[in-house]
């Protein structure tokens, strides 16, 4: 019996029989349905995914006319930075890298970001970052964002000033942990607003909050409140990209405009992000490295399809390393990466990646 060459969620090659491929697609979808409480894929969509993975060609793409818009978190760090950003260490400046992404890679948008890609370390050097954005705006044609992560963990000891909730919770100090998270949220919000306003002042097209809710619901709340204030007071386009598929209830009792934040899935996350006033939403579905890529892709597009269906703002699904069905490996292989890309567009019905 001939087998189908694909990969596992860790990036290593695996050979599946046709029946195993179909079973993995069904099982991945079923897992999404169970966990996210979303509708399953249709039979025709399973057939499409089967053909996608059974096709022997290395590289696939969307149908002509179905192309989407690309935004990118992590800025141009992938070119000039080091392994910390999956960077390839090219001796190029950020300005040069922006031009490479515009003219050689033909991206639709790009962002300027700092190598230490978080709002807290950017705040003291915001003048340098703003000049970088200004110079990019002068010389490029495509929309230019400024991007960074809320990165809540930087505000807790030993990296930050506040008591660490991860230390308090195992000691049963629940209220102290919640209080610490609220102090962290206020500081994080202040930093994000400070940086974003500088970018608005120099004429940036947008601001990106990457890996939002990485530390759970308090970080999500800080970001939503930041988005709300920026949407009301600046003309920045605001992109909110998530960190994970599910908002952890590290605090557990936080709500935004009446919606409890802990436990939200992508189709629910997008609604609070819309309420806050954001322009783009980037859902995440985490890759399970012990499952096959077909399993992961079916699961990812099932969750994102529902998110796209209910959304009123553009959806730019995350399809980087370890998310959106993409294998969790430093150098994601293009044979499955292009399949993740096409599936997210054709089945996930996203407006961008």
């Amino acid at each position: 019996m001939s087998t189908i060459r694909t990969r596992m969620g860790d990036g290593y090659v695996v050979e599946l029989t046709p029946d195993e491929l179909r079973a993995d697609l069904q099982a991945g979808c079923a897992d999404a349905v169970k966990r996210g409480k979303v509708p399953p894929l249709e039979e025709a969509e399973f057939d499409w995914l089967y053909e996608l993975f059974a096709y022997k060609g290395r590289i696939v793409g969307v149908e002509p006319g179905h192309e989407v818009i690309l935004t990118k978190d992590g800025s141009v760090n992938t070119l000039y930075s080091a392994q910390l950003s999956s960077g390839v260490g090219l001796p190029l400046s950020r300005e040069q890298c922006m031009r490479v992404f515009e003219r050689a890679f033909c991206f639709d948008t790009m962002e300027v970001g700092h190598p230490d890609y978080s709002y807290k370390p950017v705040k003291p050097i915001v003048a340098l970052e703003a000049v970088g954005v200004e110079q990019a705006l002068l010389t490029t044609i495509f929309p230019v964002f400024y991007g960074a992560m809320p990165n809540f963990g930087l505000y807790a000891q030993p990296d930050g000033p506040f008591p660490n909730p991860a230390d308090l919770l195992p000691r049963g100090q629940i209220e102290e942990a919640r209080a610490a998270q609220m102090e962290m949220a206020a500081a994080c919000k202040a930093d994000m607003l400070y940086v974003a306003r500088h970018m608005a002042a120099v004429g940036a097209d947008g601001i990106n909050f990457d890996t939002t809710a990485s530390a759970g619901d308090a970080e999500f709340l800080a970001t939503l409140e930041t988005v709300e204030e920026l949407a009301a007071t600046t003309d920045l386009a605001i992109e909110v990209g998530m960190a994970a598929e599910f908002v952890l209830g590290f605090h557990g009792e936080l709500a935004y405009k009446g919606t409890r934040l802990a436990g939200l899935w992508p189709h629910q996350q997008v609604k609070v992000v819309e309420q806050a006033g954001a322009h783009l939403f980037g859902p995440v579905v985490n890759t399970n490295s012990r499952r096959s890529t077909p399993w992961n892709v079916a699961r990812a597009v099932t969750l994102v399809k529902e998110c796209s269906r209910v959304a009123e703002i553009p959806i730019h699904a995350n399809v980087g390393m370890g998310v959106g069905g993409v294998p969790m490996f430093e150098v994601p292989p293009p044979d499955v990466l292009t399949r993740c890309s096409a599936a997210m567009v054709e089945i996930g019905r996203v407006d961008g990646l």
Partner: protein
Amino acid sequence: MSISHALASGMGGIRTTGDLVARMQLRKKMRLPQAKQYVADKLKIGLDDLADSTVMRTLREELDIGVITAVPGARKGIAAKRNIAELLDVEVPCLRRL
């Protein structure tokens, strides 16, 4: 990884109309079909032409909204964005600084 996504699914940026469609998402929160239709209408082209680099290379030079190859005299950078703002009737924030 970026190049893989660009080739598999991307509109093509200034090679085609990707930057223009992106602006409609950013400024007006348009979903993709609406953003594509808006740009197609403004450029007076069909939807199929939006990601066609053969069509758009010539049209972008005619409209002077920036082309992918380095053509002497063609508008670049912020100068091209001024024409884009007029063409699409959309705000480009950095133009306020001029």
